[in-house]
């Protein structure tokens, strides 16, 4: 299978590989996929007090397109507000990376990872601000 130049570029020079401290209340972590399906993505975001994503990291077990999808997602997430980030659609990733139909599931997984990370950070922040829990 021939890969698009952008997929090859993200594969060769993945952006934002790494991990953030998942116990940090400002960090949201999303882990989606399963090893037996051949794809697992871990996406993490660090959200500042203004609700802006100031850092994003990923680790992915999967094919080149899965790696590229998650790498691209971290690039897009940085600097966005939580609301803006929730607008990212898998079809945007498909278009940007010129993914063939057989690789669309990689972009779906990336969107799921974004949603999971956002949900995680929201949950953490709600539990911090909710009465009785806030310090």
């Amino acid at each position: 299978m021939a890969y698009s130049e952008k997929v090859v570029d993200h594969y060769n020079n993945p952006r934002n590989v790494g991990s953030l401290d998942k116990s940090d209340p400002s960090v949201g972590t999303g882990v989606v996929g399963a090893p037996e399906c051949g794809d697992v993505m871990k996406l993490q975001i660090k959200v500042n007090q203004q609700g802006v994503i100031e850092d994003a990291k990923f680790k992915t077990f999967g094919c080149g397109s899965a790696i590229a999808s998650s790498s691209l997602a971290t690039e897009w997430l940085k600097g966005k507000t939580i609301d803006e980030a929730s607008q990212i659609k898998n079809t945007d990733i498909v278009q940007e990376l010129a993914l063939p139909p057989v690789k669309i599931h990689c972009s779906v997984l990336a969107e799921d990872a974004i949603k999971a990370a956002l949900a995680d950070v929201k949950k953490k922040q709600e539990s911090l601000t909710s009465p009785g829990v806030a310090s």
Binding site: M1, Y3, V8, Y11, P14, V17, S19, V31, V32, G33, A34, P35, E36, C37, G38, D39, V40, M41, K42, K59, T60, F61, G62, C63, G64, A66, I67, V102, H105, V108, L109, D112, A116
Partner: protein, 406 residues
């Protein structure tokens, strides 16, 4: 000396034509172009003589009689002819076929077709090392069994089956025994007499011959195997396979077999040594790598390894200077990981992480060292990027994690 890239390590898929083979073939495209079936002029006689010489060389490599060689377009056609031809011809006698879960698709899909046509097929499971147990074959035979089809060596994991023992079982029960020997012929000694094989498929392009020509060996005595032709036409090849014979391809196939017979004793030792060098180098550079298939009962040029926590297609992408195959789903059209590895009980995660190395006549130790280096680098880079590797290093049991599945 600078290495020539890319390096070819996919010899289970196909092999280049040996230059000696090409030289032997060339005259038969141009000045010696006759039809071997033309009985009335010198062009035809010349072609017929060349075809018969090729037939003799092929038969000699497998200890058969030249009259038992039926030419086809390749091993897929040979497998189809064997299974469908026996099913049609022996239908009165029975309707049960025995084969194995790890066979090539050309067998499995043909067997599925037979099932659609009303036959019953037993797909024998294999143990973790992939070697077919002859007792399983024996126990599967019924009064209605007309054919046993077991491959000589597996195309993914290179595991060699006890063909002679299975041949003995078939003979005891009077069942026709077909063997898909596509990966074995020219690589390991094959003797249809000693192995009790009644029908055997193989093709030229796996042993440094041209693509587009194969053989079905059809035993003529003890027992005489009969087949229903699958194509109507001029009645070539003892009525079993009509169609004008491709003289240049047959000449090339014959020469490839002659060379294989000559070099096999030294070549198999050389390839096994290179394969072992590759395996040792990879194991030295990386932890958590696993050999798939039987550790010793394997083709000398085969190595199939799972690299835990990295996905096969991603690995191949990082190894673009090396031609390899993966059992990963992403490299197949079906999005399912290798059914061969799954049949051995290899977990889907490790099946996704598998790479098949197929060494060949023209590989060198320098190439192998380059490959070791690149493979180790690629795996290390991908493991740095792998959430599974990170979790495993943190001591998390990946089997206990609740994964989200689409």
């Amino acid at each position: 000396m600078a290495l020539k890239l890319p390096i070819y390590l996919d010899s289970h898929s196909t092999t280049p034509v040996d230059p000696r083979v090409l030289q032997a073939m060339l005259p038969y495209f141009t000045e010696k172009f006759g039809n071997a079936a033309s009985r009335n002029h010198a062009f035809g006689w010349e072609a017929e003589a060349a075809v018969e010489a090729g037939r003799g060389q092929i038969a000699a490599l497998i200890h058969a009689d030249a009259k038992e060689i039926v030419f086809t377009s390749g091993a897929t056609e040979s497998n189809n002819l064997a299974l469908k031809g026996v099913a049609a011809m022996y239908r009165e006698k029975g309707d049960h076929v025995i084969t194995v879960a790890t066979e090539h698709r050309a067998i499995l899909d043909t067997a599925k077709r037979l099932e659609k046509d009303g036959l019953k097929v037993t797909y024998l499971p294999v143990p973790a090392d992939g070697v077919v147990n002859p007792d399983d074959v024996r126990n599967a035979i019924t009064e209605r069994t007309i054919l046993i089809s077991v491959m000589m060596a597996n195309n993914e994991i290179g595991t060699i089956n006890p063909v002679a023992e299975i041949g003995k079982v078939a003979k005891e029960r009077g069942v026709v025994f077909h063997c898909d020997a596509t990966q074995g012929v020219g690589k390991i000694p094959v003797d249809v007499q000693a192995m009790g094989i009644d029908l055997m498929s193989f093709s030229a392009h796996k042993l440094y011959g041209p693509k587009g020509v194969g053989v079905l060996y059809v035993r003529r005595r003890n027992p005489r195997v009969r087949l229903a032709a699958q194509m109507d036409g001029g009645g070539h090849e003892r009525g079993m396979r009509s169609g004008t014979l491709p003289t240049p391809l047959i000449v090339g196939f014959g020469e490839a077999c002659r060379i294989a017979g000559e070099v096999m004793p030294t070549e198999s030792v050389r390839l096994a040594a290179m394969r072992d060098r590759l395996q040792a180098g990879i194991f030295k550079g990386l932890d958590e790598v696993y050999v798939n298939g039987h550790p010793t009962k394997r083709l000398p040029h085969n190595l199939n390894i799972s690299f835990a926590y990295v996905e096969g297609e991603a690995m191949l992408m990082g190894l673009k200077d090396i031609a390899l195959s993966s059992g990963s789903a992403c490299t197949s059209a079906t999005l399912e990981p290798s059914y061969v590895l799954r049949s051995l009980g290899v977990g889907s995660d490790l099946a996704h992480s598998s790479i098949r190395f197929g060494l060949g006549r023209f590989n060198t130790n320098e190439e192998i060292d380059f490959v070791i280096d690149r493979v180790v680098q690629a795996v290390m880079k991908l493991r740095e990027m792998s959430p599974l590797y990170e979790m495993a290093k943190e001591g998390i049991d990946l089997k206990s994690v609740e994964w989200t599945r689409d």
